[in-house]
Symmetry: C2
């Protein structure tokens, strides 16, 4: 019995460490047992993102998530109900965060099309969104998305609105600056470019957020020379 107890003590100590590393995003981080349902869920979601980033989709196990969160094995099925639902909630959370950040960038920007476009592009390479950890998690989902309608919907929900705004902004700039290009194609290229740069960021080593942002800006300047300079919208 005493052996069991000392083992338990050890385990608890290990867990404390894991918890503090993984996610003390806690508002009311009531220690040990009682954390609010919502806090626990977020903690587990954070641990899931960690695991996805570290081990990839196919190697992410509930055991790893639980360990990462410093909790016991059965915990996920208690708070979510299945692995599938945990993953969907995780993707949902990331999509929500992305959308909020995107909306904030839009609100902060001025009214002109050039300012808004500039701001949206900048938002995508913002330090808050554009973490290696999060990009890796996105990547893990994307890799599975083609064969999973649910993931595809969540990954793509964003794309639709996003792309539509891009198209209308490009159209506006085209009208103002009488550029020759087709707005739809230009917008498509822009969002493809940004996705490709994200991709590079995940993979590449000597490749920074700033460099990626720079490449996106170069595109803006090349396509909308009468509206954009390297230092910002004119």
């Amino acid at each position: 019995m005493s052996v069991v107890l000392s083992l338990k003590g050890k385990k608890v100590a290990v867990r404390m460490k894991a918890v503090s590393m993984a996610a003390d995003a806690g508002e009311a981080d009531r220690k040990g047992r009682k954390a609010s349902k919502e806090t626990r869920r977020q903690q587990l979601i954070e641990a899931t993102i960690d695991s996805l980033a570290k081990r990839g989709y196919s190697e992410t196990t509930l055991a790893d998530v639980a360990d990462g969160a410093g909790l016991s094995r059965g915990i996920v099925n208690f708070h979510f109900e299945s692995k599938e639902k945990l993953l969907i909630a995780t993707l949902q959370a990331m999509a929500d965060e992305y959308a909020a950040h995107w909306q904030a960038a839009l609100d902060k920007a001025g009214p002109s099309a050039a300012t808004r476009l500039w701001s949206l592009v900048a938002a995508d390479f913002d330090r808050k969104i554009c973490t290696k950890r999060k990009l890796a998690a996105w990547c893990a989902f994307w890799g599975e998305a083609k064969s999973r309608p649910t993931y595809q919907a969540l990954c793509g929900a964003r794309d639709v609105t996003y792309h539509e705004l891009f198209v209308s902004l490009c159209a506006e700039l085209k009208a103002e600056g009488s550029y020759a290009y087709d707005a739809e194609v230009t917008a498509l290229a822009l969002s493809a470019l940004m996705e490709g740069l994200w991709w590079r960021l995940m993979t590449g080593d000597g490749f920074s957020r700033e460099k990626a942002h720079g490449a996106a800006i170069e595109y803006l300047v090349a396509v909308f020379p009468r509206h954009m300079s390297h230092d910002g919208p004119k």
Copy 2:
């Protein structure tokens, strides 16, 4: 005994069908038993690509591959040695095919930087390379690549040579046409754009190879107006 035989007969019939659908890439397609080792390996690789495209990485099982190839369950471990090695061989095969296609495009192109760049861009959206099936398989590997050095090496081997050539071609054009842009950044944006377009092709529905190619061309025209037109290099 007779029951066993008739069952066998049925199974063989089913298999024949599967084989003819999946891959009769056979040179010396010696029927039934004796297909050369190499032929069998390729057949299994094709079935693996099918499975990856249809079910995604995490849901691809050896049973599914074997069924797809119309062969028995133990077959993969006989010809490859493990699932891991089959997947690596598959990725290798795709990378080889891509590289060969790319080299061919380079050889066919004229000597000028503009022609070569144009040809390389076209090659990426060629009907032979740019199949939904293959893109989906690439995608499956990419999703896992970040957490698997072996995959990353195979996916990325291409990128290094590829990107270096892009940079030098862009630098050449820059020198000829006295463009303002930094060649490295321009090349980076171009390859990111193309990766992003590939990505879109995998995912999107109402999005064709031609449209993607068009968007890439639009970028070339925008950045190198003195070298490129919508109909080809000047």
